[in-house]
């Protein structure tokens, strides 16, 4: 491609040359893993406001379509949102007239394979998940990989960016309007 791909989307999920792996036995790793598990619990529980509170104002929330790393300015995504659009998504999720979540999906996800990398004041985290969904008597299993750029603030972690690669993102899909 002649012109430059969307810079922020690429940089958000790429460590700088000075980034270093976080060892699995370190306190930092345990801290990050606890955050990832806590986030999973909030998503499974449809705790919309609490989950949205985890985000920093520079939020980039990306669920690609068709692949994991296409240029989002040139290729369609399933979700590609900044803070304001994410706020709209949360606003709508709390509206009783969101029919695709009425009844709500029952969700349970297993998060594993956590790998972390310290990148300046940020931590890049990658994890795999299996997400079981039951809705209207029907069960779906979704598989995916989430990549985060986190930083520590006021004692907790905030999400600058999160990318969710769904394994079936090029296959016919039912609604995924719940939190991913």
């Amino acid at each position: 491609m002649a012109d430059k791909p969307n810079g922020s989307a690429i940089a958000a999920f790429t460590g700088s040359p000075t980034a270093v792996a976080v060892t699995h036995t370190s306190a930092l790793y345990a801290d990050v893993a606890a955050f990832i598990f806590r986030e999973a619990e909030l998503m499974d529980g449809h705790c919309y406001d609490e989950w949205f509170d985890l985000w920093a104002p520079e939020a980039l929330y990306w669920v690609p379509s068709n692949s994991e790393d296409l240029d989002p300015d040139k290729s369609v995504s399933i979700i590609y949102e900044r803070y304001d659009q994410l706020a709209d998504r949360i606003f709508r999720l709390k509206d009783k007239r969101i029919h695709s979540q009425n009844p709500k999906s029952r969700l349970l996800r297993i998060v594993s394979n956590i790998i972390a990398e310290a990148d300046g004041e940020d931590v890049l985290v990658r994890s795999n998940f299996i997400l079981g969904e039951v809705r209207s008597g029907h069960q779906e299993a979704l598989f995916g990989r989430a990549t985060y750029r986190l930083f520590r603030r006021e004692g907790g972690w905030k999400i600058r960016a999160k990318k969710v690669y769904l394994l079936n993102n090029d296959a016919p899909m039912r609604n995924v309007t719940f939190l991913l």
Partner: protein
């Protein structure tokens, strides 16, 4: 789901019954009294009894026999949209597509020609193209090694000495669709050779497709931005053109848009001053042949400044506006900018042009449908304008969008509800008393009227019950 055999005896159906006169059907998922396949002999036209002026029978959405006939007569018997020529811009590029049950390859040959080829080896029938998309000079069948050029010609078989002197490679090309024609880059194909030229099939809808094409500087669209593929458990005809539903199905979205009606850049920005309201000047339109439109032209012309304002603060927006006025008459350029490249058109049976996307509807079974959404970019517009088009699309459409997910949920509720068929009629009469015929022959109604539903059903019946349906049944 329903595999019951057809009734061996057919009840009388000489005269129209009032719905309440009909007995409750013994098998509620089947048309109770009317459906037979060709070949069984038919007195009159049984399918016609299922389509009344302002109502249709739920069997159209739930009956497996009718679904199979739809595949044969509509999807294998008439024009279907296959893809856009920009998807296969270079020789050798291909995309796999479906024509009803039949897998096909949309491919540009080394000779530059666009073809639609049946994806089936002429030897023992395996698919010769297994990738969804790609680029190659040949299609090779990996069962026994027969190899075809990307023009469809068989160029080699393995062990040719095993075939006699009468075997000619030239007689074993990949089978082309009987007809392939384009309208300004939109590729249509028919497996039935006896169809009118595609331009006649499109009729008045062609000028509406122009609303999208001409909105691209130079008229150059790029359909290479990938797709969202969605599925719902409902009949394919549920993806209609309906202007009556948004205030209910999309109530939560309208609330979201109201939060920032003046500042938003999402899809809401081109939907100001509720275009779906009961006092709206928006219209529905039926062009014939089942092609229908939610016609926002009058409404959007009133609000043309909104989209223009968004363009003007987007990098490349001023140049975009200038390009449209340089290429087109001022009136048409005004219209193009007001419409923001959104024809909101349904081309029967499998194509819709809605907001920034081309949409293909694939029937999977009587109660399952796949909808593939291809966002359309403008080749000669800035990266920022195209990114804006993608973000607008994602906000409402796709499997996590705010709009099409609620549509799909309602379609599923309809599909389940229709199984309650003691009173089997679906009412599509809204606006019958106030629709009118425009100078171009199209039927026009209020945006909330069911003009599109009636238009699609007229075409459905015309294709399902052609005048010679009885004699066709003889062979």
């Amino acid at each position: 789901m329903n595999t019951h055999p057809l009734p061996s005896t057919s009840p009388e159906h000489g005269e129209m019954h009032h719905p309440s006169d009909l007995p409750a059907p013994s098998d509620p998922h089947r048309a109770p009294y009317a459906v037979r396949t060709p070949g069984e002999g038919s007195r009159g036209d049984p399918l016609a009894q299922l389509v009344r002026p302002g109502s249709i029978h739920s069997a159209l959405y739930t009956d497996e026999t009718i679904f199979k006939l739809e595949l044969e007569r509509i999807f294998h018997g008439g024009w279907l949209y296959i893809g856009h020529e920009s998807e296969i811009a270079e020789p050798g590029e291909y995309r796999r597509r479906q024509m009803g049950r039949q897998p096909v390859i949309l491919v540009r040959g080394q000779d530059g020609q666009v073809r639609v080829l049946l994806n089936r080896c002429r030897h023992r029938g395996a698919m010769v193209c297994e990738q969804d998309a790609g680029k190659d000079k040949v299609f090779r069948c990996w069962y026994h090694g027969w190899t075809y050029a990307n023009t469809g010609e068989l160029i080699s078989v393995s062990g040719p000495e095993g075939y006699g002197a009468s075997f000619a490679l030239s007689e074993h090309s990949l089978t082309p669709a009987a007809r392939v024609e384009q309208y300004r880059g939109f590729v249509f194909a028919s497996l039935n050779g006896s169809v009118p030229p595609v331009i006649d099939f499109l009729g008045g809808a062609a000028k509406i497709i122009d609303l999208l094409i001409d909105a691209a500087p130079g008229g150059v669209l790029s359909v290479r931005a990938g797709s969202n593929r969605t599925t719902y458990k409902g009949n394919w005809k549920q993806v209609g053109m309906d202007g009556y539903h948004p205030m209910y199905v999309h109530a939560s979205v309208l609330s979201t848009w109201e939060r920032h009606a003046e500042s938003g850049e999402g899809l809401g920005a081109t939907h100001s001053d509720n275009p779906f309201g009961f006092d709206s000047i928006s219209e529905t339109r039926d062009f014939g042949h089942g092609h229908t439109m939610l016609d926002f032209r009058k409404h959007r012309l009133k609000h043309t400044g909104k989209f223009r304002a968004i363009l003007e603060k987007t990098n490349g927006g001023k140049e975009y506006i200038e390009a449209l006025y340089a290429e087109h008459e001022a009136d048409w350029a005004d219209m193009l900018i007001a419409m923001a490249g959104d024809p909101h058109l349904g081309v029967f049976p499998n194509l819709q042009l809605i907001n920034n996307q081309i949409r293909i509807i694939n029937p999977i079974s009587v109660d399952e449908t796949e909808v593939i959404m291809f966002p359309v970019l403008f080749e000669n517009a800035s990266r920022e304008i195209n990114a804006l088009r993608l973000r607008q699309h994602e906000s409402f459409y796709g499997p996590a969008g705010s709009g099409s997910t609620d549509d799909a949920e309602i379609f599923e509720r309809v599909q389940l509800g229709l199984n309650a068929s003691v009173e089997p009629w679906i009412d599509i009469s809204r606006g019958m008393e106030r629709e009118w015929i425009d100078s171009d022959g199209s039927i026009v109604g209020h945006i909330t009227d069911e003009v599109p539903q009636r238009g699609q059903m007229r075409q459905w019946l015309a294709m399902m019950s052609p005048p010679d349906a009885v004699s066709e049944g003889a062979h």
